[in-house]
Structure formats: C-alpha cells, structure tokens
C-alpha cells in the first residue's frame, strides 16, 4: 500500500510538471510577437493550406523526408510506434475498455517493437554518422537511453515477466479517481513506471518541447500573404511610426 501511495504521489507530481511546464512554454510562445512574415516559401496562401502543411509536417514529417531518408524512416517509426503503444495503454485507464482500444490491441503490441526499432536506428546514427556524432550532447544519448529503457521494460513485461494486470489496473483507475490503490511490487513494472515518471518531469525542460514547438514555428505556420494583408506587431509598429516624416 505504501508503494501505491508513493507512486500515486509521484505520478501526480509528474503530471503537474508536465502540464504546467508545457503550458508555461506554450503561453510564452503564444505571447511572443512575430513581427515579420517569415514562412519558408513556397508557402500556402490560405488557412486551409497552412492546416494541410502542418498536417503533413506533424503526421508525415514532410520536411524531414526531404532532408534525410534514414532519419525520417527511423524517426517516423519511433513516433508512430509510440503513438500506437500509448493508445494501447488506454486499456489500463478505461473501464469498460473502449471498443476501439480493444480492436487496436494487436497493433499496439507491434507498436512497442517498431518504436524500439526506430529508437535504435536513431541511436545508431548518433554513432555512425560523423556529423550527427559531432552534434550529439550527453543529453541526446540519455534521452534515447530513457526511451529505449521504457520501450524495453514495457515489452519485457508483456513478453517475459508478466505482471498482475488486474492489480495494476486497479492502481491506475485509482489514480484517476484520486483513490490510492496498492501497486504490484514487480521490479520491471516499477522500473517502467519510474522511467515514465522521469520522462514526464523532464519533458518541459528538454528538447521534447519540439512537440508543442512545431505548432508555433513561424516558418511553418504563417501564411504567405504579406502583400495582401498587412502584418504587424505592436513593438515594431512603434518603430515604424517613429520614422515617418
């Protein structure tokens, strides 16, 4: 029971860090003006066009595809393996389990493996390509290690040392209802959960900010209509007015 309480507490702290930390960054981004029209052209001239560009960017990684096919392949496999695996985890949070979550269980299992494969591919690049090796800081390796360990421990629980799923689900449901429940004292499970907590905490302090960041990137989110519509920011307009003769 003590274990359950500790982890419940840690999860709440981590969730708080994640939500508040990301919210603060997002507020900061959205409040910072964009004084000039700087989309990377050719760029869409309509809002629909920008939505389509962002969709291709976020779902297909269009720019990365243009940039590096290997990084695109591994990066895409990792991210979409992660998404599918996360969706699969909804079965630990929903009661009764939503139908579509039931349906995708088998895909989700592949998701974990695909995610791990993608991560290892990305990590290999950090050693094998001299340019990527040069730009990799310790934190870049540690981030990959963390994600690999999360995926690895998850897969190990599924295929190796099974855990008491019923008890785990009672714990997670309790977490949602603020009704602390005991957590099975399985080393692998505790490791998996600890690493996830760690990931949630460092999210807003690390390069994982690329996830919200991409939605605020002026080169991707701006319309290419500077002649049609005058764009301005208050601080810049003050300067503009000051030079008028």
């Amino acid at each position: 029971m003590i274990l359950g309480t500790i982890y419940a507490f840690l999860f709440l702290v981590a969730a708080f860090c994640l939500v508040v930390g990301v919210a603060l960054r997002v507020i900061r981004y959205s409040r910072t003006p964009v004084p000039l029209v700087i989309p990377t052209t050719p760029a869409p001239t309509t809002t629909g066009g920008v939505v389509s560009r962002m969709f291709r960017e976020v779902v297909l990684f269009e720019s990365l595809f243009k940039g590096s096919k290997w990084t695109w392949l591994f990066g895409w496999l990792f991210h979409f393996g992660l998404v599918v695996a996360l969706l699969r985890h909804l079965r630990y949070f929903t009661e009764p389990v939503w139908q579509w979550v039931e349906v995708i269980q088998w895909v989700g299992l592949y998701g974990g493996g695909v995610m791990l494969f993608g991560l290892l591919g990305l990590w290999a690049r950090r050693f094998l390509v001299d340019r990527v090796r040069y730009i990799s800081a310790l934190s870049d390796h540690l981030m990959l290690a963390l994600l690999v360990a999360i995926a690895g421990s998850g897969l190990a629980i599924k295929y190796g040392v099974h855990t008491d799923i019923v008890a785990l689900k009672a714990f997670t449901r309790g977490l949602l209802m603020f009704d602390w429940q005991p957590l099975p004292a399985e080393p692998l499970l505790l490791m998996h959960l600890t690493l996830v907590i760690l990931l949630m905490v460092i999210f807003p302090f690390s390069k994982l900010l690329h996830a919200p960041g991409v939605f605020f990137s002026p080169t991707r989110t701006m319309k290419d209509t500077p002649r049609e519509k005058r764009h301005s920011a208050p601080w810049a307009d003050e300067i503009n007015r000051s030079t008028l003769r």
């Binding site: 910072t32 990377t40 720019s63 340019r131 310790l138 900010l209 601080w235 030079t243």
Partner: protein
Amino acid sequence: MAKREFSIPVIKSPPEIPPIRPGAMAHSRPFVAKAEHQEPLGFPGELVDNWKSVAIDKMEELLGKYRALPVFLDSCVKCGACTDKCHYYLGTGDPKNMPVARQDILRSVYRRYFTVAGKYFPKLVGAAELTEEVIDDWYRYYHQCSECRRCSVYCPFGIDTAEITMAGREILASIGVGQKYANEIIGKVHKIGNNLGLPEPALVDTLEGLEEEVEEEINVPVKFPLDQVGAEVLLVTPSADFFAEPHVDGLIGYAKVFHQAGISWTLSSYASEAANFGIFVGNYENMQKVAERIRQAALDLGVKRIVVGECGHAWRVAYSFWNTLIGPFDFLDTAYPTPQHICELTYHLLQQGQLKLDPAQNDDKVVTFHDSCNVSRGSRMGDMPGGQFTIPRALIRSACPHFVDMAPETTHEHTFCCGGGGGLLTDDLLELRVKGALPRVSALKRVIEEDGVTHMAAICAICKSQFSKVLPEYGMGMDMVVSVHQLIGDALVFEPAQ
C-alpha cells in the same frame, strides 16, 4: 589584396558530403566595424566594458520580440537532417558550419542563462557560459552564414538558422562588435541613399551615359529617368545595376521593357537602392529606416506603383516585409501588387501581348537559371506559391531558344546560395565565398558538360557579383553570368507605338 592562402575545392561528380574537419574555417572572420561604421546605426563604437551583461540583456530582449527565437532554440532535437545542407559546410567541412552547430553556439548560452536545465545541469545539456571565446565563435560563424534559409526547408520544425544568425549578429553589433562591410554600407544608405555611396550627380552622369550608349547601339531613344515627378512607376533597384557588370545590362533591359510598353517610370536619387542590409544585421530599426526612404520617395514623386529590380534579399524585404515596415500602401494604385517585381511586370506584359520577343537574338546561348536563395525561400512572385520559380523561367524561355535546368536537388526551394549572400560579399571573406560556391558551381559544371550550357542567368545583384568573382577560380568564365533582363532586353522587338 591579401595573398591567396587557400586551395580551391575540387569539384566532385556526383557531389560528396565532406567528413567533418573541426576548426577548418576558424580563421575566417571579416573586418570588424570601426566606430564610424557603428555609431550612425545606433550601435556602440567599440566593445563595451560590461559586454557580457549587455549581450545577455540583448538576448533576453530579442527572445521577447521574436517568437521564432525561443521556439527554435527550444525545439531542436539534433536529428541531423540539416547537417549536410549548408553550402558553407559542403564547401569547407567545418562542423560549425552545419546549421545545427551554428545554432548551438547561441543555444548553449541561451540554455545557460534562460533555461532551468542549463542553469542546474549545464554539462548535461551542453550549456555554456558567455565568454570571450564564445563571442569570438559567434563573430566567426555568424559571418559564415548567408541567411539563405536552405536548412529551414529540411528541418522537421522549420528552424531557420537565418533567424539565429540575425539574432547573433544583432547581439554582436549591440556590444560593439559589428561587421565593417555590412554596417558601413547601411551607413551609406542612411546618409546618401545607396550602398555604393553614389551621390546624385554621379547617378545623373551614369544614367545619361546609359541613354547615349543604348541609343547608339539600337537606335531607339530608351530613357533612364531620374526623380521624374508624376511618373507612373518608381523603380527601386540595387545600385550595382547602375554600373557593375553584368548588372547594368539588366537595368538596360528594364528600361527597354518600360520603353516598349509605354510605361512612364523613374528612378529616385533619394531612394537609389533596393538592397537593404538591415535584414543581414537582423536589426529592425535599421531595416525599417532603409525601407522608409522608398516610401518617402514614392510619396514625393507621386508615383502610382513601385517596382523592384533584380535583387534577392531586396525582394524578400520588399515582398515579405515592406507592407509591415512602410505600409499600408493605400496611396498607390491598388490594381497592382505593391511591391511588384520587375519579372512580374515583364511577365504580365508578355501575357497580355504588349511585348514581342525574338528568341533568335539569343540563339547563340544555352542558358540555365540560378534560383536566388532569398527569392526562392523568402518570397513569392505572381498569384501562386512557386511563382518565384516559374515566372523567371517563363521569361528566359520566351527570350531564349535553349534553356536547361540544373539538377533538381539544387534548384527551386532546394537551391544553393551563391556563397556571397547575407552580407558576406566582401573580399575579407574571399576564401569563404569561393568555398561556399562549390555546390552551385558543381551543379553548373554538370550542365556545362552534359548540355553545353554557356550562360547562367540570375535575378540577384549579389549572385551576379559573387559568380563573376568566383567562377574564374573554378576555371569558368566570369561572363557566363547574365541578368534575366539582359536576355529580355536583347530579344525585345521594338515596334512603333500603336
């Protein structure tokens, strides 16, 4: 002139990505601006005593003024997609010329002073104190970026190193370490009205000379009007067009087009410059002040339209920024876009059948086209995204029977900078310019060998000057480079007005 102390890169076919050579270009740094170049721009004349706190304060100010900065500095995941995209990296192998590494010399300081992770775990995330060595690195490597935005095409988050370079240069200038070439030029524009410091009488002389020369050659009284109040069009063009080769042939081309189309036009002695090096320094105030002269000239001359000559970064500033800097343009004729590119104007006239071209006049040439970086990735022409690629090509095709494109990975949005953009077109950076031209020169060499290309057309004054200078280093003729409007002008059929 300094002795040549570097070797010309070998052109490889197919082009190769060089292995990293740390420090390969650490010796490259342009002349530092003197007090007389700094102060008229509002920057301190020399390194200020408390430079460290001034720099950090400036960084904080910029982080609050430009959304791109915090987003770009936070978002990079070091994926490496940009590492082989910069022409200066491809030409030198210096790893700090990889866009991500160029950003990192600013990012590490940002992390140290503005992020939790960098304050408490500097080693872990590569955060760094701001030291004199860091300032030196900024000065070196923010003057090895031409702000061409090629890296931003491939970044999954659209991180544009040009924005980082501009911030880096603005911080440097504001602690007293500006770049002589760019800042001296901005000062000349503030004082005289153009980058060359060409005063009005010299301009009058040059234009009169051009009128005589053209009339002698083709027996048509093509005019080059200056300060003509009430003209329909104000033409704003890079001052290199007034006398540099091959630029001036482009200016003659514009004049011929105006003449044949019967459009009254004028140049302005007050705003005799399209270029705006304010963008290179990244300083809004200076960029705005340079642009403001053009608004003033348009008002004083009472024109209805503003047309911009062949210049890359000038077109980016004009197309993307003018409306913000000096708009709204409600005092001009709203039937035309403001500003309008000379290529748009000529294209429109051709579409309407108001100009007739005889491509046979250019039958001796096999022409290719160099997409200028700022036009390609920072602007547009016409109504459709990508018009900046199709319109100049349509012009060349209608004036030349033989046109060949270079390899697709080097054209359109993937185009390479000429190697001299972004305020680097100075002889104190000649080694960088020659090496940075390698990717473009490699693509050019291929079409010369495979398709017999004889000329490369461009629509940018910097590209034209840069290629004229560096092509001979690679054993190619400097006269290969031509203005698009030279080709138009040469093919133009003069018919008596209807």
